[in-house]
């Protein structure tokens, strides 16, 4: 096997060779340069493969004698792993810097090589003085490299770095001297073996000095201003190096020292790591400058990594330590390493100071790269970061260090906040003209991204137990993406086919309640997707995300283990977020949406972690036999699902998300995605049943939340002027009913919930599709700008009419069944006041429903819409499929009620009898069929009477109205539509002042101002930074209790 010494040999040799051969021309020099880098990489690669095949750890002793008389280099699995990435990164970085290296002096190349050598050395050496040496080599070459940009700011940054590094190395040297003084030894392993010596008085000080030096090199918050300046000012290529390579070296050195540290220190150090993680992210919130933003993020990641390295020590059995190391630490490391380097490179390519000015000038590949890196950093599946966070949190819960979960969650949310905000803004930025980008600059980030994607299976520890179908969403999306060349409609067809095939595939797996949900998702998805075929204009990424969303929705009910559940959940979140982002002005709502959804996801994740901690298994079934963590898990899950259901208080993401998403997608959100929270509750109640907290029965609380959601949703819908907002609030209200009825925990209750969710899918699909069709024709969503469209769009009118009759629950249509079941169930259960309030909510629904149909279809037709045509068939057909469905289940309620009841009977005993078409409960009875017949009968009689005399009827036009003996001036002033329920506003409008929205706004405001205050510590002044470092050391010193 190649001796790792050669790494240094190659580096040094070519470094000294370069100036000589530079006479032959820079091209040659670069050739040699790249050749040597490749060689180094090759060596590490070989070693890595070797360890893969189970080679033994190799120790190299210089000067052929044993320590303490020699320097000991070690090449082990971990070393090889780290070095593999380091040298890979080095190679890529060098490629990226090609341009710079071409025009700069040859010393840049030499410095680069020495830097690489230094980092490799830091990783391999086991001799602490040697560590110091390598540290110096690294740092010095780095100062110089930072300077190659040759402008004031980068030089200044380099100088600040020198100050900080100087301080660090000074402390390090002192520490090393002390250590040598105490242990009489410089070899790390020997020192570790003589650890007790170090635990003496002086020893601790020595250790402290060493540790603190590396801490500073790890740029802990807040003593890291200098590093930020470096990230910001230096040439992006170099910043990438700093953020990835050097950081990797430092972290590894810190890792080497961990065995020396007394356990009493761990807690404090973890705390400092976490602080760095949380507060750097917090400070990042308000950051405008792209590279500085990245700087914050990488510092945060370093903090997390450091904390994790210490945390895993606490996993008390060795198996777990290795496990955790290989999963969490390594995953975090790789994730950060590649993503951050890639982002810095991108920042170099795009070359815009402010993060807000970023835009990918019509270069899809850049978009893709950006997406990959950002998602990886945020920790979305399938990237390593996701698995890392999952494993970390589950492990923490398992070794009941639950306290540490909190900062991790907060930090991750903050990081997600600014990264995703940045992503959204950048995607929505208008695309200016295309600029030429040198190929060699694209290559490194591209490779990094590819590695990031293909590497994830090796970090997915639970995938062994997981069904592959949980990756189908990704697969389908990828397939559709590859079919991008096809005409748009064709792709749509393919997408629908994929859905159908998927449905056929999962059909055998689903039964009972699950089957009902699958039916809603797959069948509903297919029908609604038809509408998206209406236009042939290319839709970037539309079908991909759509199929991903629907498939992940369909997968969630099939999840057996919490891992599967959470994975599908995350897929759903991401795809729906991207779909919202595609909307015309979807930027802000998308951000709100993703923040709330991620919050919910993390709550759910914590809950699962807790259950894992207690049961040690991931199966969802085990939720049922929790007892210690039962209440917290219950509450966490409930909260998570409430957020997803947009219940009262956490609903503010909903209107924006539904309304700003494209018109064809909204029905899928409102009709299908909202139901997943219902499934969540069914899961929760199904496994955990009823739980009592203090004097409160939690389901009762949930029921109240549900009924208030229903009430306020309806009330807010009444006062909307924008039709999509109106429908969005109405969906919220409907969800409220479902939450209410599902938390009844009775046979009738669940029947109600399922019945409602199916019918709700039907009529919400109709309504949103009809609206989509109308908007596509007249191009406005403001209701008062419409009016009189019944003459132009009769088909849409019919479907809307049917829909609102169904929504409002007026017999004979199916909606009444829902209402009837609801009240019967509520009264049966004894929830009387809830019944009253929900009845009120149901009555209020009439207001917005009538407003909806009146202001759009009735009243006065505007002059500019006199030529409008009926909406395109692509919208009409799905609507009428739904119309048919509603008619069918109104005529024959058995069609849907019987299966639902049968499905629910597996959970609760049924008290319902059937007599022909009559449903008979303990309280009352309902014969949908007879009602339908009688209604038709009584409808016919007067109709015939009118038709007999129809010949005397004169058809008149819209202005032939009694108008106080005047003639109407123009339709706009005659159509009564704006502020339709002004008196209602006057009467009880005060109930829906925007208190909740204001609350959440102030929350985000708080975080931002907090971040603003913390930013003030970074004055950009070298002395101040030095002072920070000193203070930091003092504080740490006192806190660690070193005497």
């Amino acid at each position: 096997m190649v001796n790792p010494i050669y790494i240094f040999v190659i580096a040094l040799f070519s470094a000294f060779l370069l100036p000589v051969i530079d006479k032959l021309g820079r091209k040659v020099t670069l050739g040699v340069f790249y050749l040597s880098l490749t060689a180094i990489f090759a060596v590490t690669l070989l070693w890595f493969r070797a360890f893969g095949e189970g080679a033994l750890i190799e120790n190299i002793f210089t000067a052929g004698s044993l320590p303490p008389f020699s320097i000991n280099l070690r090449m082990g699995t971990i070393e090889a792993f780290i070095m593999l990435f380091v040298n890979f990164g080095a190679l890529l970085g060098a490629i990226y810097l090609y341009g710079k290296l071409l025009e700069n002096k040859v010393y840049a190349l030499m410095l680069f090589l020495t830097l690489i050598m230094g980092v490799n050395g830091l990783i391999m050496t086991r001799d602490i003085f040697n560590i110091f040496v390598f540290l110096e080599i690294t740092s010095i070459s780095l100062y110089a490299l930072i300077g190659i940009k040759q402008d004031a700011r980068s030089l200044g940054a380099g100088f600040k770095y020198i100050i900080a590094g100087g301080l660090a190395s000074a402390f390090l040297l002192l520490g090393i001297i002390y250590v040598y003084r105490i242990t009489g030894n410089l070899n790390l392993d020997l020192i570790i073996s003589e650890n007790p010596l170090l635990l003496s008085k002086g020893g601790l000080i020595a250790l402290f000095l060493v540790v603190v030096a590396f801490l500073i090199e790890l740029k802990p918050w807040p003593a890291n201003g200098w590093a930020l300046d470096v990230y910001e000012a230096a040439e992006p290529g170099i910043s990438a190096m700093v953020a990835s390579l050097v950081a990797a070296g430092m972290v590894f050195v810190f890792y080497k020292f961990i065995p020396l540290l007394p356990h009493s220190w761990h807690g404090m150090l973890i705390l400092f790591g976490m602080l760095t993680f949380v507060f750097s992210n917090l400070t990042g919130l308000k950051q405008k400058n792209a590279r500085r933003l990245l700087g914050y993020s990488s510092i945060a990641q370093m903090g997390l990594l450091m904390a994790v390295l210490l945390l895993v020590r606490r996993f008390n059995d060795a198996m777990d330590i290795r496990y955790a190391l290989s999963d969490i630490a390594a995953a975090l490391f790789v994730n950060h390493f590649l993503a951050k380097a890639g982002l810095f490179w991108l920042s170099g390519i795009i070359n815009k100071e402010k993060a807000r000015d970023w835009s990918f000038n019509k270069q899809p590949v850049l978009v893709l790269l950006f997406a990959v890196f950002i998602f990886a950093l945020v920790g979305l599946p399938p990237f390593p970061g996701f698995w890392a966070k999952w494993t970390l949190i589950t492990k923490l819960a398992q070794y009941n260090m639950i306290g540490w979960i909190v900062p991790i969650i907060i930090g991750s949310l903050l990081e997600a906040a600014y990264l995703l905000r940045w992503f959204g803004a950048t995607i929505k930025r208008e695309q200016t003209e295309q600029v030429i980008i040198p190929r060699y600059k694209i290559l490194p980030p591209l490779l990094a991204a590819i590695v990031l994607v293909i590497i994830f299976p090796s970090f997915a520890p639970y995938m062994t137990g997981m069904k592959t179908m949980f990756f189908f969403p990704l697969l389908a999306a990828a397939v559709l993406w590859l079919l991008d060349v096809m005409p748009e409609r064709m792709r749509g067809m393919v997408m629908i086919l994929i859905l159908a095939a998927f449905g056929w595939y999962i059909y055998p797996l689903a039964k009972g309640i699950v089957l009902i949900f699958e039916f809603m998702f797959i069948a509903g998805g297919i029908v609604i997707s038809l509408a998206s075929l209406n236009s042939a204009r290319p839709k970037q990424g539309y079908w991909e995300f759509l199929v991903m969303l629907i498939m992940s929705l369909a997968l969630i009910p099939l999840a057996k283990s919490s891992m599967e559940f959470f994975l599908a959940w995350e897929f759903m979140t991401v795809s729906s977020w991207l779909l919202i982002l595609r909307g015309k002005n979807g930027e802000k709502p998308a951000l709100t949406y993703i923040m709330f959804s991620l919050g919910a996801a993390l709550l759910i994740l914590t809950a699962f972690a807790l259950s894992f901690a207690e049961t040690g298994e991931l199966g969802l079934v085990l939720l049922s036999n929790l007892n210690i963590y039962a209440i917290p898990v219950y509450i966490l899950l409930a909260l998570g699902f409430l957020v997803k259901a947009a219940a009262m208080g956490v609903h503010i993401w909903l209107p924006g998300a539904y309304s700003e998403a494209e018109d064809e997608v909204t029905p899928i959100f409102a009709g299908m995605m909202s139901k997943i929270s219902l499934w969540g509750f069914i899961l929760l109640f199904g496994y955990m049943g009823n739980k009592v907290l203090g004097i409160f029965e939690l389901p009762v609380l949930l029921g109240w939340i549900g009924v208030f959601t229903a009430f306020f949703g309806a009330l807010m819908a009444v006062f909307q002027e924008d039709i999509k907002y109106l429908l969005a609030y109405s969906s919220m209200s409907q969800l409220g009913y479902m939450i209410l009825s599902v938390s009844l925990l009775s046979h009738l209750g669940w029947t109600t919930a399922l019945y409602m969710s199916v019918t709700h899918l039907f009529f919400k699909g109709m309504l949103f599709l009809a609206v989509a069709g109308i908007v596509s024709r007249i191009g406005t969503t403001k209701m008062y700008e419409m009016g009189g469209l019944i003459k132009k769009m009769p088909a849409s009118f019919i479907s809307v009419l049917i829909a609102i009759i169904a929504v409002s629950g007026v017999p004979p249509l199916s909606g009444f069944g829902g209402k009837w079941l609801l009240y019967t169930a509520l009264i049966e259960k004894g929830w009387y006041l809830q019944a009253g309030l929900s009845f009120f909510a149901g009555a209020i629904a009439f207001l917005y429903l009538f407003r909806l149909i009146h202001t759009i279809f009735l009243g006065q037709l505007k002059a500019r819409f006199r030529e409008v045509k009926e909406a395109s068939l692509w919208y009409i057909v799905p609507q009428f499929i739904f119309v048919g469905a509603i008619m069918a289940i109104s005529m024959f309620p058995n069609l849907i009620l019987k299966p639902i009841m049968a499905a629910v009977e597996t959970q609760f005993p049924s008290h319902v009898n059937w007599d022909g078409y009559t449903v008979i409960t303990a309280l009352g009875y309902w014969n949908g069929n007879a009602v339908m017949m009688i209604t038709m009968g009584v409808f016919m009689v007067p109709l015939i009477w009118l038709l007999v005399r129809v010949n005397m009827v004169q058809k008149v036009e819209q202005f032939n109205i009694v108008y106080a003996a005047e003639r109407p001036d123009r339709p706009e002033t005659t159509h009564f539509a704006y502020n339709f329920f002004a008196h209602y506003q006057k009467a009880i409008g005060f109930l829906v002042k925007e208190q909740i929205t204001n609350f959440w706004n102030s929350v985000s405001e708080w975080f931002h101002s907090l971040s603003a205050t913390f930013r003030h510590i970074y004055t950009g002044n070298g002395q101040t930074y030095a002072l920070h470092i000193i203070i930091y050391i003092v504080v740490l010193y006192s806190l660690l209790g070193v005497k």
Binding site: V810, P811, A835, G836, G937, M952, V962, F976, F980
Partner: protein, 305 residues
């Protein structure tokens, strides 16, 4: 259904026509009563019927469109349906109607059927007053439905059933078995709500002639108006019958039906003759105030104590 379809249709027709005529005459009688209270003669008590004949005898009529044309049909279909789902006279084969099809909630929700259709028809007429009237009417409707619903819930708790017939059955045997006495709170709440439903003063904000002459039916005339007026009588009786069944022990024969409906309607008339009109928001606030509290009390008393 214990007897054949044809028979039941004939029975339904009989009870419908009886109810309609009685409803119209009731309206006329009340006009007469008010007139006498004013010291006038007032119109003959069959005046409403003459008006209906007159309106159907109009030679011309105009239509603003399909929905406008169907509006009155919806309205009266709603009235007929609502009536037909209520057992009119307890234990009577002829006046039993189609109450087998559904229970109390069906009736409560079927009331909306007509209103919705009418609202749509009025909407298509394109007259702003129609829309304003409908907006007012719906708002008020939401308001008075709340105490009414609470009262209904209360009596459902009390009798443990939603089946109107059995609710009536439970009230038989003595005037003291009536809900009026067994559950006065619910009765009061419901009766206040009834004033809102009947839309006489002080709740006549929908067809407020001085403000929005005359609200939704502004554009309706001729035989459309004829249908609407017919429904006025029928629907009125339907509501009265519902209240009679729920709170006043139902009716075992035609005569007691006449008396009771007359009595219940009398309340509305007296109230209407003695109060001026609310503004819309006042009316809404009113219903959400005291009546709702009474309703909640009724529910609490029957439900939890």
């Amino acid at each position: 259904m214990e007897h054949g379809l044809l028979i039941s249709i004939i029975y339904a027709f009989i009870s419908l026509s009886v109810a309609t005529i009685w409803g119209l005459l009731l309206g006329g009688i009340m006009m007469k009563v008010v007139a006498r209270a004013h010291g006038r003669f007032g119109p003959p008590f069959w005046q409403p019927i003459i008006d209906i004949i007159k309106n159907n005898a109009r030679r011309t009529s105009i239509s603003h469109g399909i929905m406008y044309f169907l509006g009155p049909v919806f309205r009266i279909a709603g009235g007929m349906g609502t009536f037909l789902f209520i057992p009119f006279i307890y234990g009577s084969m002829v006046f039993g109607n189609f109450s087998f099809a559904g229970d109390l909630f069906l009736v409560m929700y079927f009331i909306f059927f007509g209103q919705l259709g009418m609202a749509l028809g009025a909407g298509e007429s394109g007259h702003p007053y129609s829309a304003i009237g409908v907006a007012r009417g719906l708002s008020q409707m939401t308001a008075f439905e709340l105490p009414f619903a609470l009262s209904i819930i209360s009596i459902v708790i009390q009798y443990g059933t939603l089946n109107i017939t059995s609710i009536v059955a439970a009230q038989q045997g003595g005037i003291l078995h009536w809900t009026l006495f067994t559950n006065p709170l619910a009765t009061i709440a419901a009766l206040i709500a009834l004033q809102g439903m009947n839309m006489h003063n002080p709740f006549s904000i929908v067809i407020a002639p001085q403000e929005i002459p005359i609200g939704p039916p502004t554009e309706y005339h001729s035989n459309f108006l004829g249908l609407l007026q017919t429904n006025r009588g029928l629907f009125n009786i339907a509501k009265l019958a519902l209240f009679m069944n729920l709170y006043f022990g139902g009716a075992t024969n035609l005569f007691s039906m006449l008396i009771k409906t007359f009595g219940i309607y009398m309340i509305t008339v007296i109230v209407g003759a003695s109060f001026p009109r609310f503004r819309t928001e006042q009316s809404i606030r009113f219903f959400l105030g005291v009546p709702t509290v009474i309703g909640i009390l009724a529910v609490l008393v029957t439900g939890y104590f």
